[in-house]
C-alpha cells in the first residue's frame, strides 16, 4: 500500500504539513491547533519527529530488520472528513525512513445514534486490544522506546514455522532475522506480540458511555500480524472493556483470538496434523493520574499455536507473558521525567537438549526527560538498558534523543 518509496518522503511530508498548517491557520504563528476547514468538516493534524540513538548491536529496539525505533525520521498526517454529523472518513498517512509513505489507517466511522453511544468503524482500523498501539505517536509516549509487548521482535513468523523444537531453539534471541525450514525460506524478521507499527483491516464496534465502554472487532489478520489482505482464510475477533469510574483512573480488560499461521505453511506440509494455528491473548491495562503524576501499566498473556511437525515436536502453544509499568512526573511547566520498567518472559519447550524457554527472556528499563521548547515542539532524551537471557548480545545500554513537532 505504499504510495512512494522515496527516501525523502518523510522530510517532504513534514515540510508539506508545516506549510499547510502555517497557511491555513496562523501564518505568522507557530501552529498549535489542528487545521480546521469547511466549518469543521475537514480536520488535518500532523506530527513529525527525528530520533537519533546509539548503535543497537543486540537489535533490542528494531521494529523490523531494517528499522530501529531509536534511529528514524518520521512524519504523519491525520485527515478527518466529516461527510455528515454521523459519518466521517479518517486516514492517517505516515512517512518514515526506510518505509516510504504508507497509509497507516483508512476507515469510515459511522455514529448511528445522536447520543454517541455507538460507533462503527470499517477499513484499516485501530486495534481494540490494549492501549499502547492507539496512543497517537509520538507525543503520547513519554519516552522514546516502545513497550516490548508492542515492539520486541520474537522468533515467531506467520509465514514460516520450525519443523522441530530444535529449529525454534536455534533462533532464540534472533528475532530480527529468522529462517525456518517450513514455509517461506527467505530470512525475515519475526513478529512482536502485538504490532503497533501496522494496523489490521476489518470492522469494529464501540458501545457505551465513556464511564463503561466496550469494543469488539473482526479483522483479517492477528495481533502480531495485522494485514490488509487475508493470508490464511481465518480472521481474528478481539475485544476490550474499559471502566472509567473517576477521571483519575481507567482499567481495561482485553482479549483476542485469531488465526495466525499462513496458508503457505500447511501447503508446504500437508501432512501436518490439524490444529488451531492461532494466536490468543489476554490483557489488562490501567492508567491513573493525579496532579503532576501519570501512571500506566499493561500485562499481556499471549500464545501462538504452530503445527506440531517433526520430532522433537512443539506440542504446546508458544507462550509469552509481558508487562510494563511507566510513570511520568511534570517537574516544571517545560520539563518532565519518565521511567518505564518492562519485561517479557517466555514458556518452555522440550528440545533434544532438554527443557528450555523457546525464546530469550528480555528486560528493559528506560528512563528519560522531556523538554517542551514551545507548544507543539518537544525534545525527549532517554536511556534504554536492555538485558536478554540469550542471543549474541545480552546487554545493551542505549541512548536516544528525539525532537518532535505536532499540531
Amino acid at each position: 500500500m505504499r504510495l512512494s518509496s522515496s527516501p525523502l518522503g518523510a522530510a517532504a511530508l513534514a515540510a508539506g504539513l508545516w506549510l499547510s498548517s502555517a497557511d491555513a491557520a496562523m501564518a505568522q504563528h507557530w501552529p498549535t491547533e489542528p487545521v480546521t476547514l469547511a466549518g469543521g468538516r475537514l480536520l488535518i493534524g500532523g506530527d513529525a519527529s527525528v530520533t537519533f540513538g546509539s548503535d543497537d548491536p543486540g537489535w533490542f529496539t528494531y521494529t523490523d530488520y531494517e528499522t530501529s525505533a531509536i534511529r528514524r525520521v518520521r512524519a504523519g498526517a491525520t485527515i478527518e472528513v466529516r461527510a455528515t454529523d454521523r459519518i466521517a472518513f479518517l486516514t492517517e498517512i505516515r512517512a518514515e525512513t526506510g518505509a516510504g509513505v504508507t497509509p497507516y489507517a483508512w476507515y469510515v466511522r459511522v455514529s448511528p445514534l445522536a447520543s454517541g453511544l455507538v460507533d462503527i468503524q470499517a477499513g484499516r482500523i485501530p486495534p481494540v486490544f490494549g492501549t499502547f498501539a492507539r496512543r497517537s505517536y509520538p507525543q503520547d509516549n513519554p519516552l522514546i522506546g516502545s513497550p516490548q509487548t508492542y515492539q520486541y521482535l520474537t522468533s515467531v513468523r506467520p509465514d514460516a514455522v520450525p519443523a522441530t523444537a530444535d529449529d525454534l531453539l536455534k533462533m532464540k534471541g534472533r528475532g530480527w532475522l529468522v529462517k525456518y525450514p517450513v514455509g517461506d525460506q527467505t530470512p525475515h524478521n519475526g513478529v512482536p506480540t502485538i504490532a503497533a507499527e501496522r494496523w489490521d483491516t476489518g470492522v469494529q464496534v464501540r458501545v457505551g458511555p465513556p464511564a463503561l465502554e466496550g469494543s469488539v472487532s473482526y479483522t483479517v489478520g492477528s495481533l502480531s500480524d495485522p494485514r490488509v489482505g487475508d493470508n490464511n482464510g481465518g480472521g481474528q475477533i478481539a475485544g476490550r472493556v474499559a471502566w472509567h469510574p473517576v477521571p483519575a483512573f481507567t482499567v481495561g480488560v482485553s482479549a483476542a483470538r485469531g488465526v495466525f499461521v499462513a496458508d503457505n505453511v500447511r501447503e508446504a506440509r500437508p501432512d501436518a496434523p490439524p490444529g488451531d494455528d492461532d494466536q490468543r491473548a489476554f490483557g489488562i491495562d490501567a492508567e491513573a493520574s493525579w496532579s503532576r503524576w501519570l501512571f500506566r501499566g499493561e500485562y499481556v498473556a499471549n500464545s501462538w499455536s504452530v503445527p506440531p511437525l517433526d520430532v522433537p515436536r512443539i506440542v504446546d502453544p508458544l507462550g509469552s507473558r509481558a508487562g510494563y509499568v511507566e510513570t511520568k512526573i511534570r517537574l516544571h511547566p517545560r520539563l518532565y521525567a519518565a521511567v518505564r520498567g518492562d519485561v517479557i518472559r517466555f514458556t518452555t519447550i522440550e528440545g533434544s537438549g532438554g527443557l528450555d524457554t523457546w525464546e530469550a527472556d528480555v528486560s528493559r528499563l528506560e528512563y528519560g526527560v522531556g523538554i517542551t521548547i514551545r507548544r507543539g515542539l518537544l525534545l525527549k532524551t532517554s536511556v534504554l538498558s536492555n538485558w536478554r537471557d540469550g542471543g549474541r548480545v545480552r546487554t545493551d545500554h542505549l541512548g536516544a534523543v528525539q525532537l518532535l513537532f505536532w499540531f
Binding site: 498549535t32 455514529s111 497517537s136 477521571p247 511547566p333 499540531f407
Partner: protein, 230 residues
C-alpha cells in the same frame, strides 16, 4: 511601534509606560478636563475558528463535536494616561474549563489579579502556560476543583491544557485599566479616559491587528472608533 505591534501587549504596555508618564509630566495639564469614553466596534472578518480536537485515527469512536468558539478582540490604550500606572486594585477573575474549552477564551485583567481555573468537566484538565510573562503548571485536577494563579507582570499569557491539545486561551495582563474586551456583537467601550491624545490598539488572537490615534477633548465626551480585522 513596529516592535510593539509585532509582540502585542506585553512589550507595548511595558515600553509605553515610561513614555506616557514622561509625556504627562511634560504637558502637566491632562488632569484638568472631564473624563471621556472611547467606544466603537471591532468587526472580525476572518473566519471564526472551530476549535476541534486533533483528528485521531487511533480513536475507537467519535470525539464530541464542538461549536464555533467565540474569540473576541481586546481594545486598549497603547499609550496610557496619567495615573494609569498607579498600583491597580487587585481582584479575582475566573477562567472556567467547560466542554473541553476555556471560558472565556480571552481574559483581560490588571496586574495583581488572581485568576481561578475551575474544572467544570467530567474529565481531568491540566492548565499550564509556557509564557515568559507567567509560566505555570497546575497539574491534573478533577471536576469541582479549582486552582488559582496570580499574575503580577504585564503581558500576554497563552494558556493550554496538557491533556486536551485543542484547548487554548489568552490572558492579557495590563498595567492600567484602560482596556475592553469586545462583546458578541463586536462592541467595546473604555470609560473614564482623561483628556489627551492616545494610541488605541486592537488585539486579536496573539497579535496587535491595528492601531489608531484618538483624542479625548478637555470637555470629555465620547469618541468613536471602528476597526475591521481581515
Amino acid at each position: 511601534m513596529d516592535g510593539i505591534r509585532r509582540s502585542g501587549v506585553p512589550r507595548s504596555v511595558a515600553a509605553t509606560t515610561a513614555a506616557a508618564v514622561a509625556l504627562w509630566l511634560a504637558c502637566g495639564a491632562l488632569a484638568a478636563g472631564a473624563d471621556g469614553v472611547i467606544r466603537g466596534s471591532v468587526e472580525i472578518r476572518r473566519s471564526q475558528v472551530v476549535t476541534e480536537a486533533r483528528p485521531a485515527a487511533a480513536g475507537l469512536g467519535a470525539a464530541q463535536r464542538r461549536p464555533v468558539e467565540f474569540r473576541p478582540a481586546v481594545v486598549y490604550l497603547d499609550s496610557a494616561p496619567s495615573g494609569a500606572f498607579e498600583l491597580p486594585e487587585t481582584g479575582r477573575a475566573a477562567m472556567d474549563q467547560r466542554n473541553q474549552a476555556f471560558v472565556p477564551h480571552i481574559l483581560a485583567i490588571t496586574v495583581g489579579t488572581t485568576v481561578d481555573f475551575p474544572n467544570s468537566d467530567v474529565t481531568f484538565h491540566n492548565v499550564f502556560s509556557l509564557s515568559k510573562t507567567k509560566a505555570f503548571d497546575l497539574g491534573r485536577y478533577s471536576r469541582g476543583k479549582s486552582k488559582a494563579v496570580r499574575f503580577d507582570r504585564p503581558g500576554v499569557v497563552q494558556v493550554f491544557c496538557d491533556i486536551h491539545s485543542h484547548m487554548s486561551a489568552y490572558i492579557l495582563v495590563f498595567a492600567h485599566r484602560y482596556f475592553a474586551v469586545t462583546d458578541q456583537a463586536g462592541n467595546f467601550a473604555i470609560a473614564g479616559v482623561p483628556p489627551g491624545s492616545y494610541t488605541l490598539a486592537v488585539w486579536h488572537e496573539g497579535e496587535v491587528r491595528d492601531t489608531r490615534a484618538v483624542t479625548i477633548p478637555d470637555s470629555g465626551g465620547a469618541v468613536d472608533a471602528a476597526f475591521v480585522i481581515r
